[in-house]
Assembly symmetry: D2
């Protein structure tokens, strides 16, 4: 039984998911595509043998669509998610689920009213083998209670349209989800420190940024976000416990010895770094849709992360430590 998917948003990540569903995800087919640019929608749809629909809402309500994949511009997500919940259809949304905690709360409330968990958020790193192995080590108790967590998130370069707040809402968002998931804890405060800026990129951009978070149980997390580090895409993470530490591996690649150096490549691209995680995320989502069950990061996760990014975005500039304002977690989200 094939799951028929409707896609809203045919930009880079949307096109990539459509290609991925065709090439790597058994039991699924993209049947409808919409985009604010119909030409782009047409291109992506024709590659998948799908129809173009006039709008995202048409995708949600199309009777041939079993499940919805939202890969449009962040601020538009909330309406599509609410529509999908209203239509009772499973919906996968790229991160960030929403761009404000207020929007997140609307999703969470609508979903509870609907009585079914329909939303899944694209925090694909939870499928990365390295992070999963970290979580297993933490669960094993070998390193004891977590006390600190050190994170690095670097991109080779960011486009000129990238502005300082995106370092929080679009980039740090992954680590904020991982703090919560790896430590099974909520973030209670956020602070954004502004180091000396790189001179290699745009004047409007505070890059790098150094972020600090505290969790409910007192774990302190630091995160360097540096989106124009020039040398590559580099993700690092270490959790420090009472008895030891666990560290995310550098991706395995060949070692070359030549010209007085021993070296290995640094990846340039997040899509390459997390290719297997993207595969597994969609394979698992399709399987859960087929089986009629919820799976993966849910709308509570999307909302809780938005609450943290709201606080961090407010701290940007002042550098103040700000509290994260988060509702009490309803039993509905387990």
């Amino acid at each position: 039984m094939t799951v028929h998917i409707g896609v809203i948003g045919a930009g880079a990540i949307g096109a990539d998911h459509v290609r991925r569903i065709g090439a790597r995800v058994p039991g699924a087919a993209v049947v409808a595509v919409a985009d604010i640019d119909p030409a782009r929608a047409g291109e992506v749809a024709s590659g998948a043998g799908a129809r173009v629909l006039p709008s995202g809402l048409d995708v949600v309500t199309d009777p041939h669509v079993d499940a919805v994949l939202v890969t449009s511009w962040g601020p538009t997500h909330a309406d599509y998610l609410l529509a999908a919940i209203d239509a009772g259809k499973p919906v996968f949304t790229e991160k960030p689920m929403v761009t404000t905690a207020a929007d997140g709360l609307r999703i969470v409330e609508a979903e509870q009213s609907s009585g079914r968990r329909l939303v899944r958020v694209g925090f694909m790193r939870r499928h990365d083998a390295g992070y999963r192995a970290m979580k297993e080590v933490l669960a094993s108790g070998e390193i004891g209670t977590p006390l600190l967590m050190h994170c690095v998130h670097r991109n080779a370069t960011a486009p000129e349209t990238y502005h300082s707040e995106m370092a929080i809402r679009d980039t740090a968002v992954h680590e904020i989800d991982l703090i919560r998931w790896l430590l099974d804890d909520e973030v209670v405060s956020a602070q954004v420190i502004s180091p000396r800026r790189t001179s290699r990129r745009f004047e409007h951009l505070q890059d790098p940024q150094f972020m600090l978070f505290e969790t409910a149980s007192g774990v302190r997390v630091d995160l360097e976000v540096f989106v124009n580090c020039q040398y590559g895409y580099d993700i690092r993470c270490e959790v420090v416990g009472e008895m030891g530490t666990v560290e995310l591996p550098h991706p395995a690649d060949v070692w070359v010895r030549s010209g007085a150096r021993l070296r290995t490549p640094v990846l340039q691209d997040w899509s390459e770094r997390f290719a297997a995680a993207f595969d597994d995320e969609l394979i698992e989502w399709v399987a859960s849709v087929r089986e009629g069950r919820a799976s993966g990061p849910d709308s509570w996760d999307g909302y809780a992360v938005a609450a943290v990014t709201d606080a961090a975005a407010e701290s940007l500039g002042s550098g103040e430590v700000l509290p994260v304002l988060l509702d009490k977690r309803p039993a509905f989200y387990g």
Copy 2:
């Protein structure tokens, strides 16, 4: 358009391929299964929603079968391959393609007579990201002309049924293919040296074995095969060129610091080590079947490797250097 696959042999690797086709390979479905043990065939078939057929030859000739997957016992491969060639159906065979060079020659000749390249051999390591990156480095010229190649192939343990010749025909077979593929060269001699045996396993087994190969262009290759090394599944490979070397990476996994040690896991299992390569191999095979083209390691590769394993098997015990007897490569195989 779904490719309908018939499977001959429902043992461990057969069952694994069937599961993999369902879970990870879009555009393919297993429709028929045969095994000398009909109960086993039934189990595997029912998981995939496929029919059980009385024999492997029935699978080949079944009109609903578009392509054949041979995962039966090695010595039975040749007959199924010849039947598939005769039926004009694409056929994927697990390694070793054949257990003697003579059988390999029969396949190669039948395929040429048929006028189409139909056979693909399951040398999945050619899909491993590490080996592919090695091949790219070699092609780039950065390390210059290859002179030496060092290989290690270790398994944690082998079952009691494993005997000394299997270290050559079932285990070393992967590296023999890789020598040829990475260096784009043929092996011209083989020698098997017998070091002190491990006392941890069976008396009948010469383990480890140390193998030496020479290629047509004079590259010397050494290969340690140690199938009861106790600590894990460990594959290593380094090619030494005139100006540098390139080395296969250790699989990336978490680093834990605890109890005065920094450590990372060693995998225990080949299926885990090469999981992504197995996925990619089958995905590529199915795509090539759908598109009606040949792909991947062909029957010439299977035959050439068998010629090397014949020489090595003869050297086992005496430790003599023996020539590899190989026909001239026909233009048919490019």
Copy 3:
């Protein structure tokens, strides 16, 4: 021509330096030792064939002593240094040079009045091959202007006498010197954050601590100090520049594969980790004494570091960002 050294303080580090001078430092001999515990002084002196003197000041003024080595309790350093300056004798002091910036200023002023640079501070890490290689990479320009620096300083365990302020004055002091030396910059603010405490040690101790520093040029430095991390002595450092990063290596040690793990030891002890640096530091000091020239970290470095530790110590508890109060560097210190 042998340099005759008088040692003040025969505790662990004093005894270690005396042993080291005998075993690894050509051209030097310990001729006099004093300690508040005369028995301990006697033990250390007899091993070196030196005399015991009644007090540290006697060591300074003893006519057979060419140069003084101060390894007594931190708060006593200032008086011995002033005495040595007064006597016109080269003096090497263990870190911290002084326990307050005010004392540091007294040393700096006395030395300037004397007209000669006589004081050398035992920041031995400047002799570590790893840090030196980092400095070379920074100097080469390959990674561009520094923007961030991440540091970790972990000890397996600390004794019960170790209290929270020692994490700053005795432990972080090394990294504070390295920030200044690697970046060729002064620290202008300090902040100490208190994460969740480890439950493995003493209630009176805030452990770990997370420290933040800013330099005059805007580089942000974070430093985790965790003196009861249980698993070993672990020092890490990474400088992030506009175009790349440079990272201190993990000390080289054997790799063992066994029991499903690949592992290497983690050192347990700072004296083992920096053994070669301690050798080189004393060898260089003795050579500079013999040649009548100044060398290595000077009293300005000792004073500047004390100014930072004063600010950090004041931040401990409140977690406030506090300015570092530092005089203008006189030309005397180059």
Copy 4:
């Protein structure tokens, strides 16, 4: 009490040892130097404040010389060692101790007649921290009985005077000593295989060479010697036991991320790679001379290694497996 050392041979290694004794070895002084080139002897002697003597034999018999350091051309060692034994003086000789097993036997016999162990051979790698840690792991039993040993010995370039046999007698000699020392075993056969030659250097030279050794207990050892590998000085060693393996570390050096690469330097020079081992070797030798006891690799080691290099040198060209002809070890050598 200072040990007065006479040095025979003021070439590169001789000059380096003289410098090292002055700079890094407490309790020793070079008092006399001889060389076939008196100008060179003069230069080295003046740096150390030593006298020039007309010949090596004069150094041995000089009454001011307590101990002799032989760093002359290999074939001249035997006569100086015999003279030192005759004079009853401790003598340190660079490797190879002798260039034939026959000469080795003369030393061994003379020493036994003299009744004292006076000769120490400069196998400095036994002092390398990495090899020592390997030996500890082997002694711990963690990896079980050794079965195989893999070695690599690469130099960036060799001078034009370097000929094929030197790969055995001057280069492989280090690993041959290590096989014996790490495994506590004797080598019983040797074989030298000639791979494709590098085109980057001299036509007269077989480079690389691939050597195979067997020990009395059946351990098989392979050794790649490649003295014009271009990229650096690279030494590797792994011992494979019944339950695990132990591997020599790559020297620790900084890690740089820049230009899409993560890289660390490869050393260019053996003197840098083994600097600490050279220090420790001479420090230990001087201490043992002072205390009147034997220490380190002895003349039996020098002789046994020569017996292996004799066999390997004979195998060069033919590639035959040749037995190592070695006398029975006398009780005198423990």
